[in-house]
């Protein structure tokens, strides 16, 4: 039974597209999240992380595409979805005029929790988020770090199946960052967690799987360790060839230094993705091999370069 549970798909997003005006914020985004998994969205600011999360939580519908959460459609069965999520928006919006405890009770009632459960859970989350000394404080008087804790407290209050955390460590001090990460990891043992970040080491530390999102597209998807490896310079070439697919494939595989070749059609064009050994530039060899067979070489691109560009825009170190 346990195994079945862990393999169950919790969230499935298909061809998500969202437009703000004429510009797409995200375009044809696809991903799945398994039950109990901690998935990280990594990307520079403005990449489309918040948009994706707002769609997941039912705050706004996608322009196109579909998301299901626990087999409920986010748009059609929004209420069922909203019952199952805890959400921490990026800006941590809170009712600043309320006391911490009263606010949490209010959020508990909105989530439809029975009053006895609210009583028990408010005490628990105040302990877990270390708000014991501030439970009677007006939220507006709390520092940014403590507000963040209140934000997390309300997200986990109703023990939701899925936690959606948008930049959960932004703007808080280093010690609190460490505590928050530990907390998220603990929560991730029982719950499905989707979080976003623009800090590379952070997602490496917390997440089991990372989606790199850039300009509204998912450009890479892997475990943190594999991504790190790819970052260290395994190059990828995209080669467009006019020639018979099978023969081109076998030829490319014979070129020394090539580790893997896959073929796909991109808008009707015949594109081969060639993985190359670390630090080797095989453009010369590959183009020669293709031309000498009498096929036409239509284009060639170093793909992993763009991935590096994206990483350059990420915060790759922490200023501690």
């Amino acid at each position: 039974m346990e195994d079945q549970n862990t393999n169950e798909i919790m969230i499935q997003a298909t061809d998500l597209t969202h437009f703000y005006g004429p510009q797409p914020a995200i375009e044809e985004v696809n991903f799945g999240v398994k039950r109990g998994e901690i998935l990280g969205f990594l990307g520079p600011n403005g990449a489309g992380k918040t948009t994706t999360m707002r769609i997941l939580t039912g705050f706004m519908p996608p322009t196109e595409g579909k998301v299901t959460l626990a087999d409920y459609d986010v748009v059609e069965q929004s209420l069922e979805v909203r019952k199952r999520i805890g959400y921490l928006p990026e800006t941590v919006p809170l009712h600043t005029e309320m006391q911490v405890t009263n606010y949490l009770k209010y959020m508990g009632t909105l989530r439809g929790m029975p009053s006895r459960q609210i009583k028990r859970r408010v005490g628990e989350v105040i302990d877990v988020c270390r708000l014991q000394d501030y439970h009677k404080t007006i939220i507006g008087k709390l520092s940014k770090g403590f507000r963040q804790r209140v934000g997390i407290a309300q997200a986990i209050l109703h023990e939701p199946e899925v936690l959606v955390l948008d930049e959960p460590t932004i703007g808080i001090d280093p010690i609190q960052v460490v505590e928050t990460r530990r907390l998220i990891q603990e929560l991730g043992r029982e719950q499905t967690v989707v979080l976003s970040s623009h800090i590379l080491p952070e997602v490496n530390m917390i997440c089991e799987r990372v989606l790199i999102i850039h300009e509204g597209h998912i450009v890479a998807e892997d475990t943190p360790s594999n991504l790190a490896q790819r970052l260290q310079g395994v190059d990828q070439l995209q080669v467009e060839v006019g020639g018979p697919v099978q023969e081109v494939l076998s030829l490319l595989r014979r070129v020394p230094g090539v580790t893997e070749v896959t073929q796909r059609y991109n808008q009707g064009r015949n594109v081969f993705v060639v993985q190359v050994e670390q630090d080797r530039d095989l453009r010369d060899e590959i183009s020669r091999a293709i031309v000498s067979n009498g096929w036409s070489l239509l284009s060639m691109q170093l793909v992993s370069m763009s991935l590096e560009d994206i990483f350059l825009r990420l915060t790759t170190h922490e200023e501690l």
Partner: protein
């Protein structure tokens, strides 16, 4: 039901925890107090005043152009400004429950404000023998009219994140319904009947005379329902923006 209650209770707590509502209440009592006193205290111009609240009812309807939108302007505009609407709309609460809960909170505050004016009729009973009919009917009229004005304020607070805009547009819409009957003379004919039926005055006047006409009750309840419905639709539309 519990969620409506939770939303309403939270807003009521905010009303009594922040100065805005006290200021609105204070102004309301001060203005109506002056109007009441000037209507019943003998003076040179009015040596033998009647023991009625006639003047109070007429003038309070004017004050209710401004006060209800001041009570409702915060309710959704602030949620949008602070971004708390994101957590509200991602909670398992239906849009109509949000609107209704907040509306009921403002209505409760209006009732509390009107309840504080009950010492005017009490004074009348102490010093004279007023006709009870116009008193009951007049208060019913005020409650119905206030309910409609609050519903208009709910809509204007839903469509903007700026409280001042919500207030001003609210005053504009309520004010327009308040004075629209003046234009009946200009247009004339069937249009004038229509316009007078749309406005508040034709429906409010009778209450002050002690007449409770179902037609007028239905009118104010309809205005309330229509604007609350529009507010719910506006909130739904907010998701799709």
């Amino acid at each position: 039901m519990r969620t409506i209650q939770a939303v309403a209770w939270k807003e009521i707590q905010v009303y009594f925890g922040t100065p805005t509502a006290y200021i609105v209440g204070m102004i309301f009592l001060a203005l109506t107090g002056i109007v009441f006193a000037s209507g019943v205290v003998p003076s040179e111009n009015n040596p033998f005043p009647e023991a009625t609240l006639g003047r109070f009812f007429t003038w309070t309807s004017l004050f209710l152009i401004f006060l209800p939108p001041a009570l409702t302007m915060r309710l959704l505009a602030e949620e949008q400004k602070l971004g708390t609407i994101e957590l509200l709309l991602t909670s398992p609460v239906r849009d109509w429950e949000i609107i209704l809960g907040k509306y009921l909170a403002s209505f409760a505050f209006l009732l509390a404000m009107l309840a504080l004016t009950l010492y005017y009729p009490v004074l009348l009973y102490v010093f004279a023998e007023p006709d009870p009919g116009p008193l009951y009917a007049g208060y019913l009229g005020l409650i119905l009219y206030g309910a409609a004005a609050l519903a208009i304020g709910m809509l204007t607070s839903t469509i903007t994140s700026n409280q001042i805009v919500a207030l001003i547009v609210g005053i504009g819409v309520i004010g327009a319904l308040y004075v629209v009957h003046f234009s009946t003379d200009i247009v004339g004919g069937i249009a004038s009947v229509l316009i007078s039926e749309i406005g508040f005055q034709a429906h409010y006047e009778d209450f002050g005379r002690g007449v409770i006409d179902t037609k007028h009750v239905v009118y104010f309840l309809s205005v309330t329902a229509v604007f609350l419905f529009l507010a719910i639709r506006a909130l739904e539309f907010r998701r799709w923006r």
